[in-house]
Homo-oligomer: 493 residues x 2
């Protein structure tokens, strides 16, 4: 009975895969081979063992969605390889049968990147979770794709080192590389682009290679093309990342947090520019708009002034921090900032930054029962006041709830859209709003996504952003590395 | 008479170009067209005007060599476009006639990148020298390819901003992007990879596109593939860089320089690791070996201890510098460092760092009449003591003069080879030495070039470094973007 059910599932899945790939797959090949997917699943099992393959509906659904508002499109099969050799062997099977491959880390993406819109096989990489190599004196580490950023930082405890890129979610580090993630610390430590030294990649045809050569981990290199940064941000459309060599940093001797309110967005941004210009090595500089602050006050019973607010964090030695804070307070005061408060010990810092840490839940609490959706754009920092003011007017005009939180040091911000998913009119209005927001960023020399990636949702916007000729170059590279268009098809391009 | 001479030159050049390209060009096409290069030169003149084209031997020789030991291979023609439209029009002519294109900035490269080994047309970009767009509040600027780093920093005078990447030579910024240059400041400010936000590129077929889309200059982006960093470091083999948008930084309030001697290379490197681990935002940390220091003492009548020495530079506010220097002095003392001296005012700093600034001339002065040649490798920092000690033994054993200077914070160092070019045996020994040096770096997880690039001299080493599969990927990308192999052929790959 189990066998029959399984067989039926296989056939159903086969049919669906066949349908989804209709445009590219020679159906006669499928028909001639008869029951190919069943054979494929057997071949998968021969690679990974029985526990490495699932056709279960729940498992597939879990792997067909991320944390975005994009609807779930489950893959036909989920496989859990245990090693790069298994990834390669599985990819070869998919390649032979022209079945799409969707790499999966933790499912914490925000643009529908794991949705199996053309069916296919989800490569769930969580079982490959070893920290392969730590070189403390060289400030580098190599990890498998199942290692998350929190797991890495736990592993590093006691070494005096840490990995600072922090997108909020406890994402897998290879997933973060694939989506070019960044987050609050990027203003000081950079994004994944600046912090990946080498990648092990499996191409659609099963070829295993290392972007900078096997075992290479020098801090800089001018040897050949920078393949590492071609794969960082490729969102699973060029290959599967099976190892990442990352830069590490010394844990700062001390940390100071601060908060300050401003009379206007302009004043908050002017302060940010001046702080950067003064060369203060600020570690985080986060902006919350008045709506967001109000939500945080309600959610956590806080009493911040309902005004544009900066949350700051300084990393350094005890003495240098004192100076950083003093200069920053002077700058903020010069721009009309008020209620400047700061904290050094972990507990008080935690309280001070609670509002920033809780933005997501505070936004959701504005409309209980509704769904959240975070959209992101990035502009040159001087353009922030204009885009934020215009965006707030747009939100009001269209009766939308979308408090704003941003990594203001990079010109990057998010509207945390809270909407009723059962109200098609509102869903539509949110959709149009996010497009207007992205186009507003484009009109100001910015980008439609600073850190969430293109995924499913921003493909048309990407084309507007870079233009047809740049798109052609991107498409040419995709066709070179994945000529059968099997790697996460329908994403980015 | 002039006409006849010109015509003869054209024909000679045509013959040579034909011969060099024999393997790829259909000779019958040439023959059928008859005097094609002459027509080509006319076509060039129609684009640039008469002053934009030269066939003169001296001019061609000047454009066929850089500052390396590679022999000069002059191009057949030199053109000086005035705009990106002219670059595109010229490229189209070359593309139509399958003539190689060699982009030329200032000729300050170190691996023979401008040598016209297959003949062709040198695109000399010095006439495109406008600073196109400066956005002070956004810390970014866009420059044409003729703008050098010193010219940019002069232009920025009074703005409080500067561009810190400093390879020593006053190279053009697009040339620095093309070769992924870095230099002494990279440990703090990064290399060109971290500091280019967007590039305007002309492909071999004349297509003009922008790696991040026209006018895009946000600090970060996750929109599509990172084409910017594919072209950074591509050494003119993928396209011609006609504009670069760069990150700028606030000029530090104060600068402190310091010098310290060590009992061993290990002690100097241990100090460096501990300085980085302590989170000191060191701006430059340069290593000179005992031979180099001795040469500097002789050249500039200085009296440094003849020992492994660190030259340090700190950027920041007055107060933070005091602390940085104090901690650094403690660290160096803990590692047996001695003679720690430091200076704040520009004049004393200049005196203190004179040895570091003069390394090239001090090295050359070791053997008057000889030629200098700087080779570069990069390894994970913990491997520096081993490779430097082994390299010094190698130099002694092979009776070679090669004082060592390095950007030790990045694990990157140079042997400044001083040799008699008329002694074929010595030239041969230097050649073999540089290969052993690169292989030593590869054996220690490093790279055959940290910042000079591959050019002509390190193509075989690149293959050893990255392996055949990674080479295949690089070759695939090259073939996609430059299918006729016209862009700086014979370099990198």
């Amino acid at each position: 009975m189990t066998f029959i059910l399984l067989r039926q599932t296989c056939l159903r899945t086969l049919n669906r895969t066949g349908a989804a790939l209709q445009s590219r797959i020679d159906q006669r090949t499928y028909a001639a081979r008869g029951g190919t997917l069943e054979r494929v699943v057997s071949a998968f099992r021969a690679v990974t063992g029985d526990d490495g393959v699932s056709l279960g509906a729940t498992v597939r659904e879990q792997h067909g969605k991320d944390e975005s508002a994009h609807s779930c499109q489950p893959p036909d099969v989920v496989v859990w390889p245990h090693s790069v050799e298994e990834v390669s062997a599985l990819a070869k099977i998919c390649h032979h049968h022209r079945i799409p491959i969707i790499p999966f880390g933790t499912g914490t993406g925000l643009e529908g990147g794991v949705s199996a819109i053309k069916g296919g096989v989800c490569f769930s990489l969580g079982k490959m979770d070893r920290v392969v190599d730590l070189h403390q004196d060289d400030f580098d580490v190599t990890v498998e794709p199942g290692v998350t950023r929190k797991a890495l930082n736990s592993y590093l405890r006691g070494t005096g080192l840490w990995f600072p890129v922090d997108p909020g979610a406890d994402a897998s580090l290879c997933g973060m590389a694939a989506t070019s993630a960044s987050g609050t610390n990027a203003v000081r430590y950079g994004t994944m682009r600046e912090n990946v030294l080498n990648l092990e990649v499996v191409l659609a045809d099963g070829t295993i290679f290392h972007t900078a050569g096997r075992g290479r981990r020098s801090r800089k290199t001018s040897a050949g093309y920078n393949l590492t940064n071609l794969f960082v941000g490729s969102e699973g459309t060029l290959g599967i990342l099976t190892k990442a060599t990352l830069r590490l940093y010394g844990i700062p001797e001390a940390v100071v947090s601060a908060v300050c309110s401003f009379p206007s967005v302009q004043a908050a941004v002017d302060s940010t520019v001046q702080i950067l210009q003064a060369g203060i090595p600020i570690a985080r500089i986060e902006f919350l708009d008045d709506v967001m602050i109000d939500a945080c006050n309600r959610y956590s019973a806080l009493s911040y002034s309902v005004a544009p607010t900066l949350f700051l964090e300084f990393h350094g030695s005890e003495r240098s921090l004192e100076e950083q804070v003093t200069i920053t307070e002077e700058i903020t005061r010069g721009n009309g900032g008020s209620d400047f408060s700061w904290a050094r010990d972990a507990e008080t810092r935690g309280r001070l930054w609670k509002a920033r840490h809780d933005v997501w839940y505070a936004a959701l609490a504005l409309r209980p029962g509704c769904k959240g959706y975070s959209t992101d754009v990035c502009v040159p920092i001087s353009r922030l006041p204009q885009i934020i003011v215009e965006t707030k007017e747009d939100l009001t005009k269209n009766r939308l709830t979308g408090p704003i939180a941003g990594h203001v040091g990079d010109g990057n911000f998010h509207c945390l859209m809270v909407m009723d998913p059962s109200d098609p009119d509102e869903v539509q209005r949110v959709h149009h709003f996010t497009e207007r927001l992205a186009r507003r960023a484009l009109a100001l020399d910015g980008t439609c996504t600073g850190e969430h990636g293109v995924g499913l949702g921003k493909r048309a916007l990407l084309r507007e952003e870079v233009g047809p000729l740049t798109m052609e170059v991107m498409q040419g590279l995709k066709a070179t590395l994945d000529p059968k268009n099997l790697m996460n098809p329908g994403k980015v391009l």
